[in-house]
């Protein structure tokens, strides 16, 4: 599998681009503001070179290999095609970071059931990530593990507060991060709204990005 030179300006620098995975089976576009919001957060808190324009990249295309960070969310079933599965496998094997979030926040929902099954088949077993993992201290410190979202505190979805994120660990690092906490809803707002918040709720997202860039 080889890849041609990208024609976009992203080739100019090795900058961070928030890339959202477009998969064929579901509503991959259910959280369109997360990318721009997290891009804003990364710029606000770090000096990491970052692209102002998040990207959407088809999981079935080898273009995903241009973006070592991929965000995947949705409500509907996640069933990879053979091409998507092969790409994701290569992506993870070569060091890409796949962040999957259940927009349903429902472990009985179809997204969770199908996505976890698909990830297990494609990338390996998902296991609970310990709450003292580096991910929770790589930038901001989260001593209790993943921050709760208003959706889980309000009882949407499965009416559970998920204590842990899950991850596929490859060669000692998180290669696939899976969240049932619905960060897609939590972070899906205009970045300017942060000024109304006492504490920016996207800080954990910055941790995820910094982890992906440094581990």
């Amino acid at each position: 599998m080889t890849h041609e030179a990208p024609s976009t300006k992203h080739q100019a620098r090795s900058e961070f681009v928030w890339a959202t995975a477009q998969y064929e089976s579901g509503d991959w576009d259910s959280a369109p503001l997360v990318g721009i919001n997290l891009t804003d957060s990364v710029a606000r808190y770090t000096s990491i070179k970052v692209s102002a324009s998040p990207m959407i990249v088809a999981l079935s295309s080898s273009d995903i290999l241009r973006y070592p960070f991929l965000f995947l969310t949705g409500h509907l079933p996640v069933r990879f095609t053979e091409a998507e599965r092969a790409n994701v496998r290569a992506y993870v094997d070569r060091g890409g970071f796949l962040f999957v979030d259940d927009h349903n926040h429902d472990i009985d929902g179809v997204f969770h059931k199908t996505a976890t099954e698909e990830l297990r088949r494609t990338c390996g077993a998902l296991n609970d990530l310990p709450n003292n993992h580096e991910l929770y201290s790589t930038m901001f410190r989260f001593p209790d593990g993943p921050p709760t979202t208003s959706h889980e505190l309000n009882g949407w979805g499965d009416n559970l507060v998920h204590k842990n994120l899950q991850a596929v660990i490859v060669n000692g690092r998180v290669a696939v991060l899976y969240s049932s906490k619905d960060y897609s809803s939590e972070w899906g707002y205009h970045p300017e709204s942060k000024r109304f918040m006492a504490i920016d709720n996207t800080r954990f997202g910055v941790n995820v990005v910094v982890y992906a860039l440094t581990r």
């Binding site: 030179a5 770090t46 000096s47 070569r94 060091g95 910094v210 860039l213």
Partner: protein, 419 residues
């Protein structure tokens, strides 16, 4: 009667010559032996008191014992000469690879016309090409042997190099992440300083000043990385290695060590494959040598070089023009992860501080050269008297003449009835 007088005179003359021959000072005695005879000949030459000069006519270099024996004979006053026009000039040298994957690097030399076989205790490893060739072996059992014609050259496998740590510094980003990943996967112990935000670094390892007791090499991935490392120049002076990648080649702190300048960043043309080794990641800063001497180009695809190196006092500096090698790893194809890893490991290893090479290779590593050093230059042929004129032959010949003359005279006298 005349015949008888002539024969008697001949006998007397021959007798006189016989006596004279026996009485004259002894002529130098020269002995010769070939490969097969040498072991026995050495024993004889050592016991014989009359041997003045010995000559070895060799097809292969004698073993260490025979060479030492010849050398001892020479020191004992016996003239020792040798000739070996058919012995190939083979040599083998082995030293440990610098990178953590271990193994050895073998350098060999042999006449280009002869077939060369590299082998170890387990058997043949490979055949080698070219007059001077090199090979990297992942593992070796016992001694290494280079066989060229009839002459083997042997060398002990070098001990494993003591791998030190490598410091990688640069801004947090994909290039830093994947270079560190490549080095760690290759077995390097990596310390890292990755700049995430002002005074908010991601750190691996103890930090602090760099010195050769802690680090074998420093990899600086951009100008921020280059400016962050204090004492870089003195580190390199004392034997450390510096790898300057991308914009780190522009850093003023590294300017004193380089003999090149980085040009304007170039992007691969559209359609270039990420696996293309011309680009190794689709963008680069061409490195242009600024001094005539002092630097060598290791990779050059276009006008500017992409990989250059030079020695700086005891250390080494390697300039890498590629600045997005992570694209090569991610999008370069099925083997790209391993290729990227091995390439970076080789680059760092080529600059890294290495353990001192232990002297005193076995004489078998360069047998012909060792023979030169023990016995001196070969002679084309020994200065040997013709067999017909040797003292022994002459003595026997004169004796025979004496007896033959006297016998002929007696027969002549008896034939004519005289007593």
């Amino acid at each position: 009667m005349r015949l008888e007088r002539t024969l008697r005179a001949t006998a007397f003359v021959a007798l006189a010559a016989w006596i004279a021959n026996a009485a004259r000072p002894a002529l130098a005695r020269v002995e010769t032996a070939n490969d097969a005879q040498l072991a026995d000949a050495l024993r004889q030459w050592t016991r014989a008191t009359t041997v003045d000069t010995v000559h070895a006519q060799l097809d292969t270099v004698p073993d260490a014992t025979a060479s030492a024996w010849l050398s001892a004979l020479s020191r004992a006053g016996v003239g020792v000469s040798w000739a070996g026009p058919l012995i190939p000039a083979t040599a083998i040298e082995v030293f440990p690879a610098t990178d953590p994957a271990g193994g050895v690097v073998v350098l060999t030399s042999a006449p280009a016309s002869t077939a060369r076989l590299l082998s170890d205790a387990l058997g043949p490893l490979d055949t080698l090409r070219g007059a001077v060739s090199s090979a990297r072996l992942a593992s070796v059992e016992g001694d290494l042997t280079l066989t060229s014609g009839m002459q083997p050259a042997r060398a002990e496998a070098a001990p494993r190099n003591q791998a030190r740590r490598v410091l990688v510094a640069g801004a947090a980003g994909w290039e830093a992440k994947f270079v560190i990943a490549a080095l760690e996967e290759s077995g390097w112990s990596v310390d890292a300083r990755l700049f995430v935000a002002p005074e908010r670094d991601v750190i691996q390892g103890p930090g602090g000043a760099i010195d050769t007791s802690r680090y074998a090499a420093v990899v600086l991935l951009d100008s921020a990385g280059a400016e962050s490392v204090r004492g870089l120049e003195s580190f390199v002076r004392s034997g450390g290695g510096a790898v300057l990648a991308g914009e780190a080649n522009l850093a003023p702190r590294a300017a004193g060590m380089t003999a090149w300048r980085a040009g304007k960043r170039e992007l691969a043309p559209l359609g270039t494959l990420a696996a293309d080794s011309v680009w190794r990641g689709l963008s680069r800063l061409p490195l242009v040598l600024t001094k005539l001497a002092g630097a060598i180009v290791l990779e050059q695809r276009t006008n500017g070089a992409e990989l250059v190196a030079r020695r700086h006092y005891n250390g080494r500096v390697v300039g890498v023009g590629y600045d997005q090698t992570w694209r090569w790893r991610m999008a370069g194809g099925d083997g790209s992860r391993v290729e990227h890893r091995e390439w970076w490991s080789r680059v760092v290893a080529s600059a890294a501080l290495r353990s001192p090479v232990t002297e005193g290779h076995a004489t078998g590593a360069a047998p012909l050269a060792s023979l030169f050093s023990v016995l001196g230059a070969p002679s084309r042929s020994a200065r040997v008297l013709p067999v017909a004129l040797s003292a022994g032959v002459l003595s026997n010949l004169l004796g025979a003449v004496v007896f033959a003359s006297l016998l002929a005279e007696w027969l002549s006298r008896r034939a004519r009835g005289a007593k």
